[in-house]
């Protein structure tokens, strides 16, 4: 559970930092009529609620993957763990996902500047690349199965398929949103506030999923083994 506790510690630090700005030491019973705008003043920014909503959601997704990784590190300690090879296609997929993230970031900048003629192809490119990533992941599964690394043979295999599967599902969900945003971008002549918001939410989401993927990839490739070992020893 140490990975999860680490995640919680980071999250706790963020919450503490936020709460420090919320005047939690104020004495509300002495403050009739003095209206504080500070605590609530910034929310007139349009779309801030959606952004906060996305960040909270990413917190939940982060908790989910931290727990999966905690389980991974705890199960790894048992004797029957047999590491599996990394199919070459995963490298290619990683590059593709980095490209998705970069393209969406670019799209976000173009949307802010209002250049629809660049925004549209960027979104379409992002959508295609994200699809390509999913196809690549399926290809990785196929090549592993062809090499005889099936799901139930070894806990390392089971975790690999389960974690890539869940990560893929999250990418699929993001893909739906990019798709809708792209359709909207082609239907509108000017980048409305709503469209700009959608583009920036998509890019934030895919940056996060890229970070999750890099951590998972490091785990599968075994680079994170030392960290995992260290975490395990801390608690036993």
């Amino acid at each position: 559970m140490n990975v999860m506790l680490l995640f919680l510690a980071v999250l706790g630090a963020i919450i503490l930092w936020w709460m420090a700005g919320q005047r939690l030491t104020s004495k509300p019973w002495l403050e009739a009529s003095a209206i504080q705008v500070a605590a609530t003043g910034s929310r007139d920014v349009p779309g801030l609620a959606a952004k906060v909503g996305l960040y909270v959601f990413l917190g939940v997704v982060g908790a989910l993957f931290s727990l999966f990784i905690s389980a991974y590190s705890m199960r790894m300690g048992a004797g029957d763990w047999g590491a599996m090879p990394i199919p070459t296609v995963l490298w290619f997929n990683t590059v593709v996902l980095v490209a998705v993230s970069a393209v969406l970031q670019w799209a976000r900048i173009e949307a802010e500047d209002g250049r629809m003629e660049i925004l549209r192809p960027m979104l379409a490119l992002g959508f295609t690349l994200a699809c390509l990533f999913l196809v690549g992941q399926l290809q990785a599964w196929r090549s592993l199965i062809a090499d005889g690394y099936v799901l139930a043979d070894n806990p390392a295999n089971s975790f690999f398929y389960m974690l890539t599967g869940f990560h893929g599902l999250h990418i699929l969900g993001g893909l739906v949103v990019i798709g809708r945003t792209t359709v909207r971008a082609f239907a509108n002549d000017i980048p409305s506030a709503r469209l700009r918001l959608s583009v920036s939410l998509c890019s934030i989401y895919f940056h996060f999923m890229l970070a999750v993927w890099l951590i998972l990839f490091a785990l599968f490739a075994g680079w994170a083994n030392d960290v995992v070992d260290l975490c395990r020893q801390l608690f036993s």
């Binding site: 019973w29 403050e31 009739a32 705890m74 089971s158």
Partner: protein, 592 residues
């Protein structure tokens, strides 16, 4: 003496906050069934939760009948008994308490109490309810599949949960249970995002965090906890489904079932316990924190006195929420853990008692020299304090490893957690329903029926669970279908069991009075008016009662003071609503 810029309030223009776009229902279906209005969703959540809770109540009757009269009821065999236990526990903890506090009260009270028109994401909010309903239906469907529902205990420990020795283990039962939980968590996440973001971003002008009623603080903190804790249950359920359906070995060790070696090997059942209790212990506080918050508001309102130590109450809620994430392994003392581990978790467990005790003291000090009105909400709130202290004290016993080990598998634990997280939150739910029913329906609940309901429930639950502690100290084991030839259990334990069962039937039946009251008062109850309890918080200041769609009419409310200005010296009335500017009314410090 603190200098207050008095009179500055009049200069502030109303409703500077960008008003949200409301969706407008076009037909009867979108107004009452597929509604995106948080108030309708709240009622839907509450009715669904109470209905499934009644199923769990009947299951508890059946269990008690078996314990008191073993062998009399042919249809309760050992398998059925375990199925009843499992479903009773799971329904009560997750599908009733969690759903009712967060989905029911959260949906109704958060937008009204913080002065919003609705939740921030109304569509996701609607989906949340319908997904919850699907989860409940999957759960209920589990009763009708071949082999019946799972009988693995509400903790669903592997490997037994997925083996043929456990009812539903090799049949469909466990699959329905796990899928239902997964669906529930997906639905809850949608609702939970709404509750959190509405508190963060939807507050009316002037509603700083430290002016929020404690009810909102309790529900808010509990939701944050639930959003972080439920993924652990999700992960555990998914991995167990993999083990059961796809033959992986996450949790399954090498095992022989019915003389046959299974293909599993090397998995760790303890890993499941860690994941489960990483969810399971915060879950206790996910249920308790909304109850803490609500009870604070009930006590303050009905004792006509500001809550004692508001800041401490807020901090205690947050600290309890944070600490509850590092105590989970105290449920696993008997799983053979490292003693240092046990020491760590015993310490954190006992530390939680400090903020909790602060809350109890503050409730009592709020009552001290208050103008206590013994209304039904107040009676339930008082009953909660007593019950919670009772259950909490036995929790201190069980938090110690050496005391827990002998008591862990006895009825003492059953008595403890039913007191502290069964009866206590349920009492708050009742109190809250008596308190807010007038706002939801516009009519008061019947007082006489309410008193009958209160006294039978309060005294009756004590008659049920108090003797259970003694059974536990005598060593009567929990989870046993029948005691059989157990030499160390004296015959008196058996007559006590019969007494408990009769009381359980009686208390359960008394809940029908409550349900009748809910239905009867809907059309026959006394008209309540907008603010029958003369309370300060925003939900009582709505232009219409019940609040119309959009809650606030044309202008959003502006908040000028905290939620607890009761009996302010010099004020014309003994309460000052949060929307009241400071102009003519003396504030507390003027006389202080």
């Amino acid at each position: 003496m603190v200098e207050i810029p008095a009179g500055s309030a009049s200069a502030i223009p109303a409703a500077e906050v960008a008003d949200m776009e409301l969706y407008h229902p076009k037909s009867w279906w979108t107004k009452y069934v597929f509604s995106q209005d948080a108030k309708v969703i709240a009622v839907q959540y509450a009715l669904t939760a109470i209905s499934i809770g009644l199923v769990a109540l009947v299951l508890s009757w059946l269990m008690r009948l078996q314990l008191a009269f073993p062998g009399y009821f042919a249809f309760i065999d050992a398998d059925r008994y375990y199925q009843f236990i499992t479903m009773h526990g799971m329904i009560m903890v997750i599908y009733l308490l969690t759903a009712l506090f967060l989905g029911g009260f959260g949906n109704y009270l958060i937008p009204l109490m913080v002065g919003a028109r609705d939740m921030v994401f109304p569509y996701a909010n609607m989906l949340s309810y319908w997904i919850y309903l699907i989860a409940v239906l999957i759960l209920v469907a589990g009763f009708f599949v071949p082999g019946g529902p799972t009988g693995a205990g509400w903790t669903l420990y592997p490997p037994q949960a997925v083996l043929s020795g456990t009812p539903g283990g090799r049949d469909m039962g466990i699959l329905f249970m796990l899928s239902s939980l997964i669906v529930f968590i997906i639905g809850f996440t949608m609702g939970g995002l709404n509750y959190v973001v509405t508190v963060l971003q939807g507050r009316a002008r002037g509603m700083t965090l430290m002016r929020m009623p404690l009810t909102v603080w309790g529900i808010f903190t509990a939701t944050v906890m639930a959003l972080l804790a439920f993924p652990a249950l999700f992960v555990a359920c998914v991995m167990m489904l993999f083990d059961r359906l796809l033959g992986t070995s996450f949790f399954m060790p090498a095992i022989v079932e019915m003389g046959e070696q299974l293909q599993h090997g090397g998995g760790s059942p303890i890993l499941f316990q860690h994941l489960f209790w990483f969810f399971g212990h915060p879950e206790v506080y996910i249920v308790a924190l909304p109850a803490f918050g609500i009870v604070s508001d009930l006590i303050s309102t009905h004792a006509r006195k500001n809550i004692f130590g508001y800041r401490m109450m807020v901090w205690a809620i947050v600290i309890i929420g944070a600490l509850s994430f590092i105590v989970w392994a105290h449920h696993m003392y008997v799983s053979g853990m490292n003693p240092n581990f046990g020491f760590f978790f015993a310490t954190t467990t006992l530390i939680i008692a400090i903020p909790t005790a602060i809350k109890v003291y503050n409730w009592v000090l709020t009552l001290w020299r208050g103008d206590i009105h013994l209304t039904l909400p107040m009676l339930f709130a008082l009953a909660f304090i007593v019950t919670f202290v009772n259950g909490g004290l036995t929790g201190l016993f069980l938090g110690n490893v050496v005391v827990d080990v002998p008591l862990s598998d006895t009825m003492f634990v059953v008595a403890h957690f039913h007191m502290v997280m069964g009866v206590a939150p349920i009492l708050v739910i009742f109190g809250a329903i008596y308190h807010w029913y007038p706002k939801v329906t516009g009519r008061m609940l019947n007082d006489t029926l309410g008193h009958v309901h209160f006294w039978i429930t309060f005294l009756g639950t004590y008659a049920i669970f108090f003797p259970m502690h003694y059974l536990g100290l005598l060593g009567v084991p929990r989870r046993y279908y029948e005691l059989g030839e157990t030499a160390f259990v004296p015959p008196s334990a058996h007559s006590l069991n019969i007494f408990i069962t009769i009381m359980a039937l009686f208390v359960g039946a008394a809940q029908m009075v409550f349900l009748f009251n809910l239905v009867w008062s809907l059309s026959r109850g006394r008209l309540a008016g907008g603010n029958p309890w003369r309370a300060t918080t925003l939900e009582w200041q709505t232009p219409q009662t019940p609040p119309a769609h959009g809650n606030w009419g044309k202008d959003l409310p502006v908040v000028y003071r905290w939620a607890y200005d009761y009996s302010v010296p010099g004020a014309p009335e003994d309460f000052i609503p949060q929307t009241e500017p400071a102009r003519d009314i003396p504030t507390r410090e003027v006389v202080a």
